[in-house]
């Protein structure tokens, strides 16, 4: 745990991690953002919080829903 480590041990740990991360494979932001947008546009028509759901199909609209009385 970091609490039990000295500042030196923590810095060494950070250094090891940074050395690894500098070499992480990366792709351009523009390409990835374009992908994200394509993903969203594909799913948007079915997003109930954005497109809305007709009252009769939405269990939360209208009255408190059915209660089963036994």
């Amino acid at each position: 745990m970091a609490r039990d480590m000295s500042d030196k041990e923590i810095l060494k740990m950070e250094l090891e991690q940074l050395k690894k991360e500098v070499n992480t494979p990366r792709t351009p932001v523009s390409a990835n953002c374009a992908d994200t947008i394509t993903f969203v546009e594909g799913m948007l028509p079915n997003d109930p919080l954005i497109k809305g759901v007709p009252d009769d199909k939405n269990p939360y609209k209208g009255d408190k829903g059915g209660c089963i009385i036994t």
Binding site: I10, D35, V40, G42, M43, P48, I50, Y60
Partner: protein, 381 residues
Amino acid sequence: ELNYIHWKLQAGKCGLCSSVKACLSACGMACQGLQKGETLASLKRECDNLKKKLEEERGKLNDVELHQVAEKTEVLGALSVKTRRVLKGHGNKVLCMDWCKDRRRLVSSSQDGKVIVWDAFTLNKEHGITLPCTWVMACAYAPSGCAVACGGLDNKCSVVPLSLDKTENLAAKKKSVAMHTNYVSGCTFTNSDMQLLTCSGDGTCALWDVESGQLLQSFHGHTADVLSLDLAPSETGNTFVSGGCDKKANVWDMRSGQNIQSFESHESDINCVKYYPSGDAFASASDDATCRFYDLRADREVAVYQKDSIIFGASTVDFSLSGRLLFAGYNDYTINAWDVLKGTRVSVLFGHENRISRVRVSPDGTALCSASWDNTLRIWA
């Protein structure tokens, strides 16, 4: 240089050898085995240089910002989302909640030591579990719907099987699974009821076998309390993201325990992290009053959701089904709905009378549930 000299005393601990004695000779003797020239100052310099290099490497591929790529995307209309249910029953702050896969049940946990399972359609309280400790900071529904996990100030995370028999005392069947050395801040089942992933104030995350309580993997790398974690969507493989008081968000490989990527752009504690539905990105909420969006393939932050008028910390985030909206709960009692692509705020949801501790969109995307320090939960749809 400062080789064998006591660097600085932090909370009674020597910075070079973590000896608790503050005297020079004790430190000098303990440090005999350390490499000459490898001083704290030189290590710090190396770290700072690498951080600069990392920023440069990430910067090379930062050719554009998300909202610029999204300029041609259609603007969203106003949201017609309102409070549809108010769930009353907790006697104190509601700290956490989680939806069941059946999209209608949810579990919530509170400072009052109680865990409640609700039917969100009917407001019926199906189960109530009283735990021996207060501040149940984390709770999660099992994928099967047959159990819940909960934990907090007791430093543990326990699993409670849900019984169909209403007269049964569920607390008696509680089984301790995770043991940390500080509070448990978050928990989630993996893709089955058999494994539990937890994060803690002790600075670690851990993967546990529910049946045996065995520690399967531990994740070290954060240098302060870990406040939140989220599992990648199942199709994208075995990773999870965590965030904490060291202002870092780390992405981990569950099998090897390795920290694959880490991001440090927030200016204060990260209170919550959540994967994007596609698994290629994640969002974070912080005490610095901003939420941020990180693309994992570009390995950088690609959007910041902030406004001058928002000065209170953001405690929780979740995405709508399509990933177009980011709901964020704040300490000023409001929930803001952000357009993830354009970076603008679409709507503000008012209603709670105290801080928002958690927001979660239901599994089919039809509703948002919010939990608050005002002792209630709300369903918005």
